[in-house]
């Protein structure tokens, strides 16, 4: 899914700009890292892309649809985006299965336009698959999320973002709580899915990841932008 931002400025308060005149054009199937210090605006940028926040000025377009506050059009786009929130946003009192499978009931799956009628087994099978691909045991299915470790919770959040086979994955610090091995399980999976056609945007602090994965990186620092362009997928 193509993502483009034109002259985007975001300010939460009148005299503090978080993002200033940002231009970004990520082609369908592209991969982008967003880097920057704490408070640089990484999360803000990702929220603009998924339509959770809206720019103070400028335009954000995803999959050819401009995201406008209050317009129902972004609803269709959301079904095609998988989001990993920095704070996970899991339903802690509910089971792993309930958390991971929930987008299946509201959104859509893969290229189909309608939500599939997931009666029990189909949803279960997909959930098991995605858990396994993230190195999680299927024994966790019936555990409550609040009983899991931080790293497990983070991977549950990633599983939920991926279960719909989205066209665009937006992940905010998806490896922040993971050990080295699991970090690379996740990053390898992202790269594999990217090769299969999924557009990926990952915000991270981890210089090690950025160095090894070698993809275009957007460096944010207090309103200004520096770009490392490593392959042609990204035009600023």
């Amino acid at each position: 899914m193509r993502v483009s931002l034109k002259q985007v400025t975001k300010a939460y308060h009148q005299n503090s700009l978080v993002l200033k005149n940002l231009n970004l054009d990520l082609a369908e199937g592209g991969f982008l890292f967003v880097a920057g210090d704490s408070g640089a605006g990484k999360t803000s940028l990702l929220k603009l892309i998924v339509g959770e926040e809206f720019p103070t000025s400028g335009t954000v377009t995803c999959g050819g649809i401009r995201l406008i506050e209050g317009a129902g059009s972004s609803l269709q786009i959301r079904k095609r985006i998988g989001v990993v929130h920095q704070d996970y946003r899991l339903m802690k009192e509910r089971t792993v299965f309930e958390n991971v499978a929930i987008p299946l009931f509201f959104g859509r799956h893969g290229r189909s336009t309608k939500p599939l009628n997931f009666m029990g087994s189909a949803a279960l099978r997909l959930t098991e698959e995605v858990l396994q691909s993230l190195g999680l045991s299927t024994k966790l299915l019936d555990a409550k999320v609040k009983e899991l470790s931080g790293g497990e919770q983070q991977r549950i959040a990633i599983a939920r973002a991926l279960i719909n086979k989205p066209d665009l994955l937006v992940a905010d610090e998806p490896t922040g709580s993971l050990d080295h091995d699991h970090t690379w399980t996740v990053m390898d999976l992202f790269q594999k899915l990217n090769i299969q056609g999924m557009t990926v945007i990952v915000a991270t602090h981890d210089r090690d990841i950025i160095r090894k994965v070698r993809k275009p990186t957007l460096h944010l620092s207090a309103g200004s932008v520096r770009v490392d362009e490593r392959d042609g997928a990204c035009i600023f």
Binding site: V50, G51, E52, E69, G70, S74, L75, Q76, I77, R78, K79, V83, R89, M91, E93, I102, P103, F105, F106, G107, R108, F118, M119, N164
Partner: protein, 293 residues
Amino acid sequence: MYFLKAALLGIRRRLLSSLLLVVGSSSILLAMAAIGLWSNWLLQQNENMKAHRSVAIFVDSRNDSDVEDVLTKIMQVKGVDSARIISTEEFQSFLSQHFPDLAAAVDGLGLDIIPRSLEVFFSKDIHYFERLETVRTLEGLSGVQRVDDGMDRMASALTSIRWLGLGGYFLLFSLYGVFLFVCVGHYQNLLYSEAQELSLVRSFGATKFMIVLPWIFEGFFQSVAVGLVVGVSLLGGKTYLLEVYNQFFGTVGYDPFHFEFTNLLLIIFASMILSFLAHLFSSGLALLRWRLH
């Protein structure tokens, strides 16, 4: 089905508040049913009394043949449907039932002083003026001492009963208003306590309809429960209710209040529908008022 399951889960998670809502709605609907029945019955009585009015005629003699003479004369008057002689025993029992003190005094004095009377019924479709005319004719008959019409007294009683009945209906609507208010509050709370989860679900692309669907199911289950509670309570409280009603109005000479099985079914059904409508309305309203991106 996911939405059905979500509704059941929702009820389970909010068991206490769901139960409270069911109990609250049932009490309100029960009160509504009681008031509705009562108003309906009062207004019906009003109609009945207009239709079947009768007068009492006192005869100036205590002689049986004189009384029968008067009876034949009465039967010939235009506008009279039927008439009958009231026996002294009947009169006495009426007295002791409605005016026990007086009856005791009369008892002490012996039977002789009890006046002889007849009850005269007018034709069913009699007009007000024809009726007045008939009463005047009856008053003019020889042997008739007094016609106890009490039309004016009755007329004022009838209007006040009418107002009472209409007031009952008004109360009915007000109670439903209260019910709606409670329901709207419930969904407002729900929205508040589940805001995080709802915006999450929203972020997966859930439409408002998808969000409200489990609530609709939940409202449906609750409404069925409410209907059952109302039905069982009415069935249980039936005898007591009837006793109270009839104590109040039986003495005034009204028909005893009765309560049929079809009425009960109707009330159960109406309770379910009213409750479900309230749920639909309030969940819809809550969602409309909620700002979603």
